[in-house]
Amino acid sequence: MVDPVTEPAVPPPTPATELSSPKEAVGGWLQTLRTGDIGSLPIIIGLILIVIVFQSLNPTFLNAFNLVNLCLQIAALGIMATGITLVLMLGEIDLSIGSVSGLAAAVLLVTHVNHGYAPLLAVLVAVLVGTLVGLIQGSIFAKIGVPSFIVTLAGLLIWQGVQLRVLGEQGTINLPPAGTLVRWAQFSFVPRWLAITLAALAPLLYLLLSLLTRRRRAAAELPVTPLWLPIAVAVILLVLLQLVVAKLYLDRGVPWTFVFMVLVVVFFDWLLRRTAYGRKIFAVGGNIEAARRAGINVDWIRISVFALCSTLAAVSGVVAAMRLGFANQQSGSGETLINAIAAAVIGGTSLFGGRTRRYAPLLGALVIGSIANGLELLSLSSDVRLIVTGTVLLAAVVIDALVQRSRTSHGR
């Protein structure tokens, strides 16, 4: 017998990850840009273009007051987009998130205002209602096998009906204008010193973690990224964050709701990418049969994801209601749903499941929020406004699509 295997461990033909000098690394990065995975860069470019255009059309766009408003405006959207991102990762859809957010708002107001629940308790009840809704919808989808589109379409109608019922005769319920909830959502800003500290700590933390991982990898004799890369990223991040913070504190500062939204986005990004649970979501979205055969409890993943999505929708509804200072029959209706999905998709989440970019909900919410905010400053009539909104939205994504297209000529 001839044993043809005489070579020892075969080194990979082209060592791609190990790059030693900055010059080579930049070359590699440009190469990646041309042919490889370029992540969220195109949509960030799109965002920058939007900012430039609106700023040139109306110089108030970038003033501190407006930027603070923008932060306040996208908090609820970003939270809801985070939830729907999870569902989209499965290749499914949840049409009920708007209704659920409206229902949660109604529950919050009724329990807090009409029944006198303490603010936190009322918030908790409202959010749990969302969780319950998600569990129900997820179970019908996963266990009975009704397409998620239909389950959540039924949910869209049903929860809106329940919302009307909960609000009852009154229709609109106002939060106490000086109450905790309104104060928190409308008038609470991070103290300046804290904001500056946080904006300094975040990049440092990133750097620290990168270096630790790098050490562990080196110890395990795995290829490592060059040292300068995390340092460069951390420095850029530091400068950017400090600039933004400085700007925002010309006005009221960084709203807590915005910080909360960013934390939600970051947490779920971590959950998706760094935990076994998130890995399973990727797997189910990528190839459900492979996931099932790997022993993953697919039903449970599906149910829990729908529950998380609805929970986040409820949180979003609560945040929106606190910011508006009221809830009514229209809370959560209209474009709430489509904006959330659009934010997730613009941020780079695939509707076919299994693919999303880092911080997609945040980037998408920024794009959608900026467009809406910028257009408000331009005093357009309704017809022109609609046309411009659509066009800008498309333009923001075209850059991304063009880059993708040049990158790969086939496949989704």
């Binding site: 044993d3 043809p4 295997v5 070579e7 461990a9 075969v10 990979p12 033909p13 082209t14 791609a16 990850t17 991982t213 562990r216 990898r217 395990a220 004799e221 795995l222 971590w270 760094r274 935990t275 076994a276 890995r279 399973k280 990727f282 797997a283 979205g285 990528g286 190839n287 049969e289 492979a290 996931a291 099932r292 055969r293 790997a294 022993g295 993953i296 409890n297 299994g354 693919r355 496949g411």
Partner: protein
Amino acid sequence: MRGVSKRFGAVQALSEVDLDVYAGEVVALVGDNGAGKSTLVKAICGVSPPDTGTVTFAGREVRVESPHAAQELGIATVFQDLALCDNLDVVNNLFLGRELRRGASLDEVEMERRSGKLLRELAARIPSVRLPVASLSGGQRQTVAISRSLLGDPKVVLLDEPTAALGVAQTAQVLNLIERLRDRGLGVVLISHNMVDVRAVADRVAVLRLGRNNGEFRIHEVTNEQIIAAITGATQNVVSERVARLREQSAGDDPLAAGSAEGGA
């Protein structure tokens, strides 16, 4: 397993099939295309439970209703259609469903290290374990699937055409590996159309034909022609006659020469 049947719509994929696998033994399961081999494997490992029939594992009768249950029992499987998540990279596919953790989050470093080691053992030629499997070649994907099945601590390994897409070096490694598994006392079921591979490692050969058992042979007591006759449909009678006749001659044909039967044309 006894009397396993499975029906898909109008197609009766398996009828009353029996199969025994003992620890420390390699059983080759052979049969024509569409004979029901893969269906049988899927029935054993819980992917599509059979309509009728029972599975006895380590003396107990068990119901394997889901792949998870099969995993718990220690049944690992390489599927013919591989079943990898295209959107995940090699490391993640290898550890899917049994990720290593460090606190709440994943231990990527350790997983990557082990993946590299495992793949090197199989002489896999994979440029980077961080590539998504969508971008791997057919043989590379197959190597990943085989490695996957070895990661847990299985008692029985079911391999559905594991070497179909592999290069010569990799095939040799996989055959080595199968022998190592057997020596460690695992039960191995090997499905293959390649008689050379079958002869090289199998102790016993079970033949399926049109969803039915069509003979079972000790590998040393049978020639390739006999197996092929059983596969392609010589009647049970003819085969048993020939087996009886050939048994008298004992170690009859030269297995190497018989290997060429497969060369066709």
